[in-house]
Symmetry: C2
Subunit: 217 residues, 2 copies
C-alpha cells in the first residue's frame, strides 16, 4: 500500500514538473515574441495555454484521487494540498503568457521605443517563475524565499515602466494606444510575479507547514 502511494506521489511530482516546464516555456516564448515582435512564438505561447489547462486538470484529478484513496497525513497531505493550490497559479501564468501573446498578435508594438525597462521587468519575472518551480523540484526553501523577496523588484520595475510610458505619452500623445497596451502587458508581468510568489509560498508551506508566516497544518 505504502509503495503504491509513494509511486503515485512521484507521479504527481513529475506531472507538476512537466506543468512547470510548460509554464516556463510559455512565458519565455511570450516574452521573446514581445521583445522581438515574433508572432510565430506568440502563437506557440497561445497554444501552450490549452496544454497547461489540460495539465492542470490531470494534476487536479491525481491530487483528488490521492486524497480520497490514501487519506494522507502530515507532510504528504501538505504536499498534495500544496500541489492543488500551486497549479491554480501555474494555470494563471499560462493565461497571462497567452494574454501577452494575443496583444503581440493583434497590434504592432515596439516595447523598447516606449519603455526601456519592460525587457528588464520581463526577465526578472521569468527568473521568478523558473526559480519558484526549481524551488519546488529541489525542495529548496532558501530559493523559495528568494522568489518571495524578488517580488518587490518586479513591483518596482512596474512603477518604472509606468513612468516611462507616461513620460512618452506627454511628449507624443498621438501615439496613445501602444503605451496603453504596453502598460497592460507590464501589469500582466507584475501579476505573473505575484503568481510565482504564491507558488514559492506553497513550496515553503509544503516544506515547513507554515504558510505566509501562519501555521496551517
Amino acid at each position: 500500500m505504502r509503495n503504491r502511494f509513494d509511486e503515485q506521489l512521484e507521479s504527481l511530482n513529475n506531472s507538476l514538473i512537466r506543468m512547470g516546464a510548460l509554464c516556463e516555456s510559455a512565458i519565455a516564448n511570450a516574452t521573446k515574441a514581445l521583445l522581438e515582435g515574433d508572432r510565430t512564438l506568440a502563437g506557440r505561447a497561445i497554444e501552450a495555454d490549452s496544454e497547461i489547462d489540460q495539465a492542470e486538470r490531470e494534476v487536479e484529478s491525481l491530487c483528488l484521487k490521492l486524497l480520497l484513496q490514501q487519506q494522507p497525513v502530515a507532510r504528504d497531505l501538505r504536499q498534495i494540498s500544496s500541489a492543488l493550490k500551486m497549479i491554480t497559479d501555474m494555470e494563471r501564468i499560462g493565461d497571462q503568457a497567452s494574454d501577452i501573446s494575443e496583444m503581440v498578435m493583434s497590434v504592432e508594438l515596439d516595447p523598447a521605443a516606449h519603455a526601456i525597462h519592460i525587457g528588464d521587468m520581463a526577465r526578472a519575472t521569468i527568473g521568478m517563475v523558473t526559480d519558484s518551480i526549481d524551488a519546488y523540484v529541489r525542495r529548496d526553501l532558501a530559493l523559495a524565499r528568494r522568489v518571495i523577496e524578488a517580488d518587490d523588484v518586479v513591483d518596482n520595475l512596474f512603477l518604472t515602466v509606468k513612468s516611462e510610458l507616461l513620460a512618452g505619452l506627454k511628449i507624443n500623445p498621438a501615439e496613445g494606444e501602444a503605451p496603453l497596451d504596453l502598460l497592460m502587458i507590464a501589469k500582466y508581468y507584475e501579476r505573473i510575479g505575484d503568481h510565482a510568489t504564491n507558488i514559492a509560498e506553497w513550496v515553503e508551506f509544503s516544506i515547513t507547514g507554515v504558510h505566509k508566516g501562519e501555521l496551517l497544518g
Copy 2:
C-alpha cells in the same frame, strides 16, 4: 455517519455563502469608493480582503476534512471539489476589490471625467459577481449560464472605456496619470468578470458534471 456528513456539507455551503457575501460587499464598496471618491469605503474594501482570505482558509480546510474523512462520490464529490476551486476565484475578487480601493486611496481620480462607461462596466461586473454567487446558492443552472454570457458585455465595455481614455489622452496629454490608473482599474473589473465566469462554470459543473463543455467526473 450520513447525517453528520449532510450537516458538514450544509456548513460548507453556509461558509461559501458568507464568503460570497463578503466578496459582493467588497466589490460594491470599492466601486462606490471609486465613483464617489469615498476613501472610508475604500478602506472598508481593503479591510474586507483579509476577512475574505481568512474565509478562504476556513472553507479550504473544511473541504479537505470532508474529502479525507468522508470519501464522497459523484455529486457530493463534485460539490466539494467545486467549492475548493470557487474559493480561489472569490479570493481573487477580494484582491482586486482591494487593488481598486488602494488606487482610490492613493490618487485623486474622477472616473466620469475620463471615461463615462467605467461606471457601467463596474455595475455590470458587480451584477456578474452577485449572480454567480446566487447561482451557487440556489443551484440555478440558467442563471450560471447567463453569467457566462454576460462576460462578453464586460469585455466590450472594457474596450469602450479604453477608447474613451485614449481619446481623452490625445486631447489633454498632460493629464496622463489618471487615465493610466483608470485603465488599470478597468482591467481589474474585467478580471473580476473573468472570476465570476469561473465561479459560474464551477456551479455548472457541480450541477451537471460537465465543466466548460467537457465531461470531468
